[in-house]
């Protein structure tokens, strides 16, 4: 089975019903997507499939055959973070950070589909089903606002590094 992972075509030999999360973490040693609940409830495992948010703890490998998958690692790096990653770093929008992957991925897909700068209320709705236990919500909202500001101030500003 093959799919496009963070810009590279990859092949994997595994039971196609295996949740994608374990394939990404174990077969490709990716740290971004995290196991949180296995039920798609919390958002910690989020990845982008064809630019949309997907909770890969509850999606089997077969679902991404021939599709494009991006993880947190695929968005940017410490040296060259994406706009959203940079906003999260600048706004210190992380305490323990276990949910940060889901927050950044969800924000990336959300802003990608926004036609104009979202309101705070829209941001809260977009992140409604991403759980944070540390209570970092306020910094996270701020980070999304900062990223949105950057993106909608300059429309050519890419969501992904290197694009």
């Amino acid at each position: 089975m093959s799919f496009l992972l963070n810009g590279e075509m990859v092949q994997v030999e595994a039971d196609t019903q295996t949740p994608l999360l374990y394939i990404l973490r174990n077969d490709f040693q990716l740290n971004g997507p995290k196991f949180g609940c296995g039920l798609g409830e919390c958002g910690a495992c989020s990845v982008l499939i064809d630019d949309r948010v997907a909770r890969c703890c509850a999606i089997p490998l077969i679902a991404v055959e021939g599709r494009k998958v991006q993880t947190l690692e695929g968005l940017g790096s410490i040296e060259s973070p994406s706009v959203v990653q940079k906003a999260f770093i600048d706004e210190q929008a992380s305490q323990c950070g276990y949910c940060t992957n889901g927050m950044i991925i969800t924000t990336t897909a959300f802003l990608h589909k926004c036609s104009a700068k979202p309101s705070t209320q829209q941001i809260k709705e977009a992140l409604r089903a991403n759980l944070c236990r540390c209570g970092t919500h306020i910094e996270i909202i701020k980070a999304v606002e900062v990223a949105a500001e950057a993106l909608f101030f300059d429309a050519s500003n890419p969501l992904e590094e290197g694009k």
Binding site: K34, L39, I78, G97, I138
Partner: protein
């Protein structure tokens, strides 16, 4: 594989073995083995390093406390950088690792910066002093003429004269004891401490770099999972560690890559090469347990805690409290009850262990690496010195979660397989087994004097908690499961107000269920009581609650904070004596105050930061929903090392404790914890967060105070006081859920809530055996066998015919029933649950012995049209020959040709399991007489070609009515107005497609086309259960056929407009033997939800069901404004299953999820069968029905239906 040692610094031993460098150390007692401890052997002290400066100038600093996600790594680096005049980035902080960091106990009590950073600061000052002296000697300049900057010491006069730290320490090795008298930098000179610094850990967290213990990968690592006993969340009693009966090891033989099954006492674990297989093994391993004893009834927490044995400690006694209260003008006895709550870490705990014969490596997210090392050595019965614990960050824990337990699991499994093993707990295990924040009982006796002053304060707190011994020690029997008390109920137990007569006592007691510290420990509940009570006193005295507090508040610094917060919040003085507030609609607003200083550690303990809240709430008096809209929080932490870090801690505390006060309470049944996921235990979400305004006291001259917990402590009281202000209802038992609020409002208004009684109907079943037997006499049951033939030659059929047969085979959905899960294509064996028992589908491949290989066309055709097998046996009408009789001859030939062209597969099929009289095949002859002709179809020439084509497909091969028409008690499809009126298949409801459809939007031709073509109609939902594979099969039909079927079905849907003669069915009238069928049995009657709906708005539904929907379902089942989500987001408002007469499809979908959608683009749904119990599912389904199908009556008997579906999962 990542090399986990890359990011690690050298060990203490490696540093001390060097010939060069400066090491600032402190002596400590080394760990002892269990035997050494038993013999009370003393060993010479060892050196623990706090600061190491190497010849290359690298500075490493060590602290025994770890970063729990609060950012103390950065704050500690700031302290070291400040004292050593470095930049923060020049300091490498090492936290917790047993071979590196000093043993400073568990990271608890917000004590890192307040207490454990002190020796580190002295160590840095010691190093600086030494470096200056060395530089002075080397440069021959007096120390006071030198200046340190970024690791270099310069002459103040001539900056060209300098020497670096590295050069200074490269000449020899110097080991210095921490000098507590080494001069500390004056606060006024601070450049780094007290200024906000960006956290050093966030860039890695935001980009997926190695940070967490969950990401540790060791070469050769295997994956382990544990199977916990059924006494979830319990850790004391004789049955702990002694309840395992049997493990059926061969029950997971079918799973590939299983390396080991380890069983010790009640510890059961599996190890596999791949993680997903370890998970499968965990789920499928058959383990048998003894029953375990019940718990005290924890739904009555007050009684349960009172009944728990305890030892009382009196902590304060002044004046004569009993006399004072007896003489009070008004006596006020109050009881406050705090619920059990969870740490609720987002990531279930994880640990990696590598147990070798001479060394045990453990990678852990523990709060207390050194204590964990002791536990692990004890568990493995080895010398503690053999164990090394390397600490990585983990998901925020806020106290003791399962981080240590899972390391116990990992070492046992690694020992079993002699390879490194990674274990992560499941969400369910973390929820069930984490040591809970204990329920707590606070009893206050007191009163008020005629002048409004408090008469006395007699306070007793009961806190059933301890330190929660590592569960692995208990399950394996290494430690006896004896409930021990730990004296921790006394945090902030002394009220901050002056009472002339006061007594404060604590009942130390062992846990009832597994419990340990959770953020705020017992201080948060104790403060809830103190601060609610002072509000009650002010109210009784007719005074403003802030002014009343200030009169009795002893601590000036606290008073200053209280005043500044009240001022910032624009607190309006109240008179007390509550008066009704104006409402906007059903919403009423209120405002409350509370203050506390978190006092931690052994009584009398240490005060941490001071905190005060002004909370604004809105209460919906109709639904009872409470929201906190704004919090103004004041905080005095003295010197703030990293003010931004403190701000984040304050905000985090405010939001987390708001969540706890409004929403959180652990549920129990008679013997265990129940909540296994975020639906049953919901936490605050983004739309629910209040605005937070922070007032931080600016006191850099005061020593730093712990800020990790303080801002949580006033939360619940401030919110309860605001609720009282809004409604006049005093809630003394968090969480403040809609149900409690409603009950409070009803009680206040003198009404009582009487839940509507459930009424249960009884099914009326009639024995119809005589009827069917009578019919069987009319028509002889005996039918001849048709002679077996050789596998027919395919030469007689053209390729085109075979190809057409393939399409027809798909139109007939033959594969759906004739292929078992994981079995060979069309080789039969799928179990079909019918009301009469289980029938297994037959082998359709041309295998001569077990399939159709020796069937002539005549035999095939007879079976298809008459339901008679080649050997003359009657087939059951679950095989839809009643529909297939309508297939024309040409199509029948093509089907036969296609079947015979397929590869033969030999199978052994299970025997049908039918109840009497249905297990008597010959009786089916009578059945055919009665019913078969009813579904004969004739073309209607007056109708369009498309309509007739659709009718042919639907009533012939499509056999839609086989599932979608109700059947009578004899299993025959009902006709006439009941044609396509909804039926049942394999435990799934096949919804009505005719005018009886309950779908909120009628099925249009286009909606049917979308649904049949793509597996989803936005107006109705996705195809689930057996319909999913049907749509997949229909994928082989051309659009024109799907359009024809949709056209015809849409016409049936509006058939009330059609004349009776237009209806194609019921062209033969047969006396119907029964009038009552299962399909007609009333499924609907008034129940609680209906009663609520009739009397009250829909928001007043059971809050647990609502919480479950929001926590577990709403992520996917609410609309998103943006198209940014993979897969469809089926809306429940329009979903046919939610509007149906029967709850079956909804229940089945929730239990088993959607694992194989018609197309991956539709998305997937996980199975919740292991995550919800029947009661929780009942609440959820009740809520969904009432919320999303408000015009439909409630479903009755849900609990039983859920149990039945679980017992009969079916095969789809």
């Amino acid at each position: 594989m990542l090399n986990t040692s890359n990011s690690l610094s050298q060990t203490r031993a490696e540093f001390l073995a060097k010939n060069q460098g400066l090491f600032v150390v402190k002596e400590s007692n080394p760990p002892l083995s269990p035997a050494q401890k038993a013999d009370d052997i003393k060993k010479p002290t060892e050196l623990e390093i706090y600061i190491a400066i190497e010849s290359d100038g690298k500075v490493t600093a060590f602290n025994g406390h770890v970063d729990l996600g609060t950012g103390i790594r950065t704050a500690l680096a700031q302290i070291v950088a400040e004292e050593l005049d470095l930049e923060v980035s020049q300091v490498k902080m090492v936290l917790g690792d047993t071979e590196r960091a000093p043993n400073q106990g568990a990271t608890i009590a917000s004590a890192t910066l307040q207490i454990t950073a002190i020796p580190l600061r002295h160590a840095a000052a010691t190093a600086r002093q030494h470096l200056l002296i060395c530089a002075a000697q080397h440069l021959e300049i007096a120390p006071d003429k030198l200046i340190c900057l970024n690791g270099v010491i310069f002459s103040k006069k001539d900056p060209n004269i300098s020497i670096s730290y590295g050069d200074l320490v490269s000449r020899d090795k110097v080991v210095l004891q921490i000098d507590e008298h080494a001069p500390l930098k004056p606060v006024n000179d601070y450049k780094i401490v007290g200024k906000s610094a960006s956290r050093t850990d966030i860039p890695a967290k935001a980009t997926g770099e190695l940070t967490y213990v969950h990401d540790v990968r060791v070469p050769g690592m295997l994956h382990g999972r544990v199977i916990r006993p059924p006494y979830s969340g319990r850790d004391s009693g004789d049955f702990i560690g002694r309840s395992l009966l049997e493990v059926e090891r061969d029950s997971i033989d079918h799973i590939p890559g299983i390396v080991a099954i380890e069983v010790i006492g009640d510890f059961v674990g599996v190890v596999a090469e791949r993680e997903e297989n370890a998970i499968r093994a965990m789920k499928e391993l058959k383990v048998h347990w003894k029953p375990h004893p019940d718990l005290p009834d924890l739904t009555d927490l007050e009684f349960a805690v009172k009944a728990n044995p305890s030892t009382q400690r009196t902590l304060l006694e002044e004046g004569d409290v009993e006399l004072a209260i007896a003489n009070a003008d008004q006596r006020m006895q109050r009881t406050y009850v705090w619920p059990y709550q969870m740490h609720a870490s987002i990531g279930p705990s994880c640990g990696v262990a590598d147990v070798q014969s001479n060394k045990v490596m453990v990678w852990s997210g523990t709060q207390n690496p050194h204590i964990l090392r002791t536990d692990l050595a004890f568990l493995l019965n080895i010398d503690e010195r053999m164990v090394e614990v390397i600490r990585y960050e983990a998901s925020g824990c806020y106290g003791r979660n399962c981080a240590d337990d899972v390391c116990g699991d990992a070492v046992l499994l690694s020992r079993a397989v002699k390879r490194p093993v990674r274990v992560q707990l499941t969400r369910e295990q973390e929820h069930l087994w984490e040591p809970k924040g204990a329920g707590q009982l606070m009893e206050v006796d007191g009163g008020i004097n005629a002048d409004g002053s408090p008469a006395g304060y007699d306070f007793t707190s009961s806190y059933p908690s301890n330190g929660a011994p590592m569960i692995t020690l208990l399950l394996t029997g290494v430690v006896e499961p004896i409930a021990a008390a730990l004296e921790m109920g006394d945090r902030t137990i002394i009220p901050p107000y002056h009472f002339d007569h006061i007594r404060v006592r604590v009942n130390d007691m062992a846990p009832i269920v597994r419990a340990a510290w959770l953020r705020g420990v017992s201080a948060l509940p104790n403060t809830f009581a103190h601060e609610s009570y002072i509000d009650e006193l002010a109210e009784a005295a007719g005074e403003d609650p802030v002014a009343y507090r200030l009169r009795y508040l002893k601590d000036e610094r606290a008073a200053e904070l209280v005043k500044s917060v009240a001022e910032r919040a624009d607190w309006k003085t109240k008179k007390g004596h509550w008066e009704e507030k104006d409402k906007v609609g059903s919403i009423v607003k209120g405002r409350g105050f509370a203050y506390a200083r978190y006092v931690h550690s052994k009584f009398p303990g240490f005060g941490a930061a001071w905190a005060a809240w002004v909370a604004d709430v809105e209460v919906d008096t109709h639904s009872g929903e409470v929201s906190v809209t704004r919090v103004v929080v004041g905080h005095d932490a003295g010197l703030m090392i990293n003010p931004d870090g403190v701000r984040h801690q304050i905000q985090g505390n405010v939001l987390q404790s708001t969540s706890r006060a409004l929403k959180e309470s652990v549920s129990f049944n008679e013997s265990t914890v129940l909540d296994k996921e975020w639906g049953a235990y919901p936490i605050l979400t983004f739309p629910e967060i209040p605005d937070v305004e922070i007032v931080m006291a600016d006191k850099p001259e005061e020593p730093p105070q712990g800020a990790g917990e303080s801002a949580s402590v006033p939360s619940a009281a401030a919110i309860a006081n605001a609720i009282f202000d809004a409604t006049g209802v005093r809630l003394r038992q968090p969480p403040f859920t809609a149900e409690k609020m409603r009950a409070g409002l009803l009680a206040k208004n003198g009404e009582s809530q009487t839940p509507a009684k459930k009424k249960y109907g009884s099914a009326k079943w009639f024995a119809l055996f005589t009827t069917i037997a009578g019919a069987a006499v009319v028509m002889s049951p005996w039918r001849p066998a048709i002679t077996p033939v050789q596998v027919p030659s395919l030469a007689t059929y053209s390729q085109a015919t075979i190809a057409r047969g393939e399409t027809l085979f798909a139109a007939g959905d033959c594969t759906v029933c004739h292929t078992s899960e994981g079995g060979a294509m069309n080789a039969g064996g799928r179990a079909l649950d019918t009301p009469f028992g289980k029938i297994y589908s037959t082998n359709l491949t041309p295998d001569p012995e077990t399939g159709l290989g020796n069937w002539s066309f005549s035999a095939f055709e007879r079976a298809m049209r008459e339901g008679i097998s080649r050997d003359g046996k009657h087939l059951y009408p679950v095989f839809p020959y009643t529909a297939y009789q309508n297939v024309n001859n040409e199509d029948m030939q093509a089907l036969y040709a296609y079947i015979m062209s397929r590869p033969a597969v030999k199978t052994t099929l299970p025997k049908n399991d039918l109840s009497f009289p249905f297990n008597i095949r010959p009786l089916m002859a009578g059945w055919n007489t009665l019913f078969k002709s009813r579904t004969q179809f004739k073309e209607s020439p007056e109708k369009s070609e498309v309509w007739n084509r659709g009718a042919y497909l639907v009533n012939g091969l499509g056999h839609c009515s086989a599932c979608h028409s109700p059947r009578n008690l004899m299993g025959a499809e009902k006709v006439g107005k009941n044609f396509l009126a909804g039926g049942e298949v394999d435990g799934w409801e096949a919804p009505a497609l005719n005018a009886l459809s309950k779908a909120p939007t009628p099925w249009s031709e286009n909606a049917l086309f979308d649904y049949l073509r793509s597996g989803h109609s936005p107006e109705h939902g996705p195809a689930t259960g057996p319909m999913g594979p049907v749509v997949e099969e229909l994928g082989k039909l051309p659009d024109s056929d799907i359009r024809a079927m949709s056209h015809y079905l849409a016409s049936i849907g509006s058939q009330q407009k059609m004349s009776a003669t237009e209806a194609i069915l019921a062209n033969v009238t047969v006396p119907t033997p029964v009038t009552t069928t299962s399909a007609e049995l009333t499924q609907v009657e008034p129940s609680l939800a209906t009663a609520w709906k009739n009397g009250l708005p829909s928001q007043t539904l059971p809050s647990d069901g609502k919480g479950m929907f929001e926590g577990a379902c709403s992520a996917c089942h609410t609309t998103r404004e943006q198209d940014d989500w993979f897969g469809i987001r089926p809306e429940m408002q329009t979903n046919t299953n939610v509007h149906s007469n029967k709850p079956n499809n909804l229940i089945r979908t929730i239990l088993y999820g959607v694992q194989k959608p018609v197309d991956s683009s539709l998305g997937y749904m996980p199975s919740f069968a292991d995550s919800f119990n029947d009661k929780q599912l009942e609440s959820l389904v009740t809520y969904m029905r009432a919320e999303f199908a408000p015009d439909k009556p409630a479903w009755n008997n849900l609990y039983q239906t859920i149990a039945n579906i679980r017992a009969n999962p079916g095969s789809h």
